[in-house]
Assembly symmetry: C2
């Protein structure tokens, strides 16, 4: 079955909002084994909406629309669909009662416009809206299926997940199963080269690589009749990839690096502190985005000035003068000073030049040292990171998290 | 002139990437006074691309395509367009030489596929690609204009900004000018209510409100024959909005709150330090995203544990026991302790419960205290923030930045 997604809303055509609904629906439909052939976006305009709907119906078996179900005169989707398929709008009692209840709850008067949302084309399957007032619906007509969903992403997703998925599963002949492996420390092209024979021989499962802010991931996707068959096919490929590249893989389950690190810290009951310079608190703010990490994180000290490095971490003035704030020596003294002060099991220090200014020939923008004091040792890695200020700070954060991951193995 | 945007790429239909190109082009075209009526997305498929292109040409005067200009067999856009308008592909010498030079520079062999990118439909205006190898082009044919741009957003934007904008200006009869005011501390619906008469009487300029992560903004857009006329119209509205809501406006120039705060700190040569608990370094990492801020930021201490609050900031055990870590008393002692230690002009401390666990009836998740020690005083604000862990942390960061902005006035 092939599908078209029609997004209705003038604000998309103005570039005021990003069409994340089309992204979500595309992912979901593909996972259900349905082929998405077209996306259309059209404004809140009666003629153009009608014409686009008719065109999409001439091209696809399944049409999903989002948007245009609101209470105002601008919201036309339902009316146009009813016209195109030749069905009358009828009052849907349960939806009507729900809308009344909603307005009673928020203690605001309900007006005639709001009532409009309770009208649904005759003979449709009504889709309740658990996050808002506008119900959706499914119409089966002349061998075509039209599914109409609200525009706000939260409402649309909840409705799709709760009521549309199961319906569509009955229309798909197969299931699509996929797993995502996450890599750090290897570039996308190097990864592709290492897997080139697997990728070019791919039919089912398929293997695709993605790159995102210094990380790469591999999605292995299998179309099959049932989950067991799909699982077997995917695991076979994972085994082969693991044989070749296991040292770069930090998650076999599409987890973020920070989640993997937090899990490991909690599992090992390892207390941790940070001394950050160029990252300015980014490492600790990233780690503290994980709930429960207060069990492990003692503190983080952002020592931006040299004075702070001396006062907070006991870095010696001599080291700062002789080697500079961005040096292996300073990074190590920062980590050791932090250890002395906090007694945390693992103390990580970072110092570097995030740019765009402050670089020299010897110490260019992007030069970063990360030191870790752990179990009586202190190690320090030197990195040269290419990119703008934000990229350098973010990638340094990833490098720091990855060093923690490796040391806790 | 009305326009359609066609995005070419199977990865969009898979939901693997977000179609930011359509957003960018829509914004730009609207600003140029051109009406965007449709977005289409179609995969790398010869028949469907041809059919969509023909359909778009039947509906619009101007068609902009992005994507499908790469060197592989999958990349079909140019070939299909040439076919649809009945033009031959010809070798474009300057593009050919540029591609040769590019491969010489990166020291990789150039193959036949790469050469494909130097072929352009006859009689087109060639658009150089300053960020990659695939040139774009403009074809004027039968009263229609087709503009073909590469898919990678960086290449597409650079090409549009450098070569397409000026071309399109000659096709538009008017200009569109807009300004964005940014607000903090007022919700979108309260803002709309305060401006309801202006918004509902809008014709030209138009006034639109947007909400994004705790901030709201207002865009005032004017269509006019020249920039002076547009500017006059927009400024008149700004003056009226300022009369009503100036206390909430932090930027008349679409700047982020953190930029406004950093500018103010630098301008006043005000040194600053942070003591963060629930935000875990987010405030300082946000501020250090601004280049040059090292002139003002001394340090930030993330005191996650009670021990750290005592040891780093001299918070008294008595206060922690009597009032708890999340209290006005603790927040104030944190700010004062930080001041004592760092001597920074402005010391800000934050303590709160980011959740999802750790809340009680008296101190629920979302309870946050922010204290500032400045010019001999210490003030403390109490907030109850609604939302998940991330929202609470982000909104606390915004509140802290806004407090700094107000105190530096």
């Amino acid at each position: 079955m092939n599908c078209s997604i029609i997004s209705v809303g003038t604000e998309i055509l103005f570039g005021q909002i990003i069409n994340t609904n089309a992204v979500y629906l595309s992912q979901q439909l593909n996972e259900l084994g349905l082929n998405v052939y077209y996306h259309y976006t059209v404004g809140d305009n009666s003629d153009r909406l009608k014409e686009t709907l008719a065109y999409a119906m001439s091209k696809s078996d399944l049409i999903i629309t989002t948007g245009g179900l609101g209470p105002t005169q601008d919201d036309l989707t339902k009316e146009i669909i009813a016209k195109v398929v030749g069905k009358k709008l009828e009052l849907h009692k349960p939806s009507y009662e729900k809308i009344c209840k909603y307005f009673k709850n928020i203690k605001r008067p309900m007006n005639k416009n709001n009532l409009k949302q309770a009208y649904i084309p005759k003979d449709s399957i009504v889709l309740p809206n658990d996050c808002g007032t506008a119900p959706g619906f499914i119409i089966e007509n002349d061998g075509k299926i039209i599914i109409t969903l609200p525009g706000p992403p939260k409402e649309m997703r909840a409705m799709f997940d709760s009521y549309v998925k199961d319906y569509l599963r009955t229309k798909s002949e197969c299931i699509i199963y996929s797993k995502v492996l996450r890599f750090f420390g290897i570039g996308e092209s190097a990864l592709e080269t290492a897997l080139t024979d697997l990728i070019s021989n791919q039919t089912n499962p398929t293997i695709a690589t993605y790159a995102k802010e210094g990380e790469v991931s591999v999605r292995i996707t299998m179309k099959a009749e049932n989950i067991d068959e799909a699982n077997r096919g995917v695991e076979l490929i994972i085994k082969e990839i693991k044989n070749r590249l296991s040292q770069y893989i930090y998650s076999y389950d599409d987890e973020e690096l920070v989640e993997v690190v937090a899990k490991k810290l909690l599992e090992k009951e390892c207390s941790i502190s940070f001394a950050e310079s160029c990252t300015g608190g980014l490492i600790s703010s990233k780690l503290t985005s994980i709930s429960g990490i207060s069990k492990c994180l003692d503190r983080s000290i952002v020592t931006y000035s040299n004075e702070a490095k001396v006062q907070e971490l006991g870095v010696s003035l001599n080291t700062l003068e002789k080697y500079g704030a961005v040096s292996e020596e300073t990074a190590k003294e920062m980590a050791l000073g932090l250890k002395e002060k906090t007694k945390s099991d693992l103390c990580l220090a970072v110092t570097g030049i995030a740019g765009p200014t402050g670089g020299t020939k010897e110490k260019p923008v992007g030069l970063v040292y990360i030191a870790i004091a752990y179990e009586g040792n202190v190690i320090c890695n030197k990195y040269n990171i290419w990119g703008d200020r934000n990229k350098i700070r973010n990638y340094t954060t990833m490098l720091a998290l990855n060093m923690i991951r490796l040391i806790l193995k």
